[in-house]
């Protein structure tokens, strides 16, 4: 890709390095150990964390933040474990995803992945109940992902029909799930839900109610 120097944002690396997890970006010396050990490269052609770091250092802000590859990282930490410069690539990618999400919310970017919707639905469930409630999460995520309630329910049925029945028969989900008559059916709620609300409201940009 040709680099247009007049479009580079020299401040981008500072922006990343001031984000939690992005602090060690500038110590990268481009050895490519991260990319060589990354399991996703086998499944997503062209996936290259080393290059994302390089483009970030160069200030290619728009290209980096709109790169769909940001959203297929498994956060498996293989790159971080092997990096000789302790760049914490898995955390840097997390910092980039958070900047991208903020840009999308500000209307400056369109993210080509349902992952922000999933993460937000997860955080919303957590803020509401204090624990993960699988069914509630799916019911919140699928309609958002598919763009309408009906489409969402159909897609959810398609993905979950067999799995849900399997879990139901094993007593893991449904009316008798979770080892008690109600646990698998209803959200498991903690008593101090107000604390969850406070945490997300004071610290998280993602958990805030619109």
């Amino acid at each position: 890709m040709p680099i247009k120097t007049w479009e580079l944002d020299p401040n981008f690396k500072n922006e990343i390095m001031s984000e939690a997890g992005g602090e060690r970006l500038a110590s990268c010396f481009q050895c490519s150990t991260c990319t060589l050990g990354c399991p996703i490269t086998e499944f997503v052609p062209g996936y290259n964390p080393r290059k994302i770091i390089q483009m970030s250092l160069l200030g290619m802000r728009e290209e980096v933040l709109s790169n769909p590859d940001l959203w297929v990282c498994l956060i498996c930490q293989t790159c971080t474990a092997r990096c000789p410069q302790d760049v914490r690539i898995a955390d840097v990618l997390g910092a980039l995803r958070r900047i991208a999400e903020r840009e999308e919310e500000a209307g400056n970017l369109k993210i080509d992945s349902p992952r922000p919707l999933f993460d937000k639905a997860f955080q919303h469930q957590l803020k509401k109940f204090g624990r993960l409630y699988d069914m509630g999460l799916a019911m919140e995520y699928y309609p958002k992902k598919e763009g309408s309630f009906i489409k969402g329910m159909l897609a959810m049925m398609k993905d979950y029909k067999d799995f849900g029945m399997r879990m139901f028969l094993k007593g893991k989900m449904g009316p008798l799930g979770g080892g008690s008559p109600v646990k698998g059916m209803l959200a498991s709620k903690i008593k101090q839900k107000d604390v969850m609300k406070k945490i997300f409201e004071e610290l998280g940009e993602e958990g805030k109610e619109k």
Binding site: L74, T80, G184
Partner: protein, 289 residues
């Protein structure tokens, strides 16, 4: 070194998809004479979906503070919960300003940094110890096992408690109880199962999980053993979906290491939730002598 009482953090899947891991963890610790005190009113650790480290630290500060009141170290059977608990514990211990800030948000987040966080595998091998466990074994679990460790046991480096390339804690337990480690599986031990992409790129997640199942099968394993509920959901819970989507037959039993250990300790299979794994485990039960 021996332990007799620990705070227990079950994690969200303990109430649903990984209930068998929860059941077997409780049963095994009971048999080993270690009392588990469930963290009262525990909240979710943030899993992989809460990406902001500050929120993760706050969520885990509450759980750590509850255990600290009881003056107990925390143990969890879930690798992701362990990673979040341990990295939060480290951050909170090192940063007084962070502790003060969290305390200001709510008094329940007032944690002084006096306890340790552990994964069950670490406690079994390094705290309770193989000799102690060996003295309590009642049966031989004569199975060929592909020990699958996944992501957060050997990495990232600060929170890891086993080797990043060739972890061995589970291998040691399997050999102790009379099992055999299959050859040619080592290189898959720590390759991610694909779980984090299940809801957003299910196609990639299926391919990744299938590869692990295939390698275990080709290595001649009777089962895969695990120490994380997300791996359990991918390799066991979704195995039939993977077979259907990719038009393959696998039929590989997948069990938690606590279930195998429980069998060797002479615990009733149903008490270990062995009737709750998605892929049938009867063949394994036939090899317990």
């Amino acid at each position: 070194m021996s332990v007799d009482k620990l705070a227990y953090y079950p994690g969200c899947p303990s109430e649903a998809t990984a209930i068998e891991q929860h059941m077997s963890t409780e049963a095994v610790f009971e048999k080993l004479g270690v009392e588990l005190v469930e963290v009262e009113d525990w909240n979710c650790c943030g899993a992989a979906e809460v990406e902001d480290p500050r929120v993760v630290y706050a969520l885990n500060a509450r759980n750590l503070a509850i255990a600290e009141k009881e003056d107990l170290d925390i143990v969890t059977p879930c690798s992701i919960c362990y990673y979040n608990l341990e990295r939060s514990n480290r951050a909170l211990k090192a940063d007084e300003a962070l502790r003060t800030k969290l305390k200001g948000i709510d008094s329940s987040l007032d944690y002084n940094g006096t306890i340790k966080t552990k994964h069950v595998l670490d406690v079994f091998v390094n705290d309770i110890g193989l000799d102690e466990i060996s003295s309590k074994l009642e049966k031989k679990v004569n199975v060929k096992v592909a020990p699958y460790y996944g992501c957060y046991i050997g990495r990232p480096p600060e929170t890891a408690f086993d080797d990043p390339d060739n972890p061995v804690l589970m291998d040691k337990l399997i050999e102790l109880i009379g099992g055999e480690i299959v050859p040619n599986f080592n290189y898959m031990k720590t390759v991610c199962c694909g779980g984090p992409l299940m809801m957003t790129r299910g196609d990639i997640a299926f391919d990744m999980a299938r590869k692990i199942l295939d390698v275990a099968k080709n290595a001649g394993a009777d089962c895969i053993s695990l120490a994380c509920p997300l791996c359990g959901m991918m390799l066991d819970g979704k195995q039939a979906d993977i077979e259907k989507a990719l038009d393959v037959t696998i039929g590989m039993p997948v069990v938690y290491i606590t279930q195998l250990l429980g069998l060797a300790l002479g615990i009733e299979p149903n008490k270990l939730g062995l009737n709750k794994n998605a892929v049938d485990t009867k063949e394994i039960l036939g090899k317990v002598v």
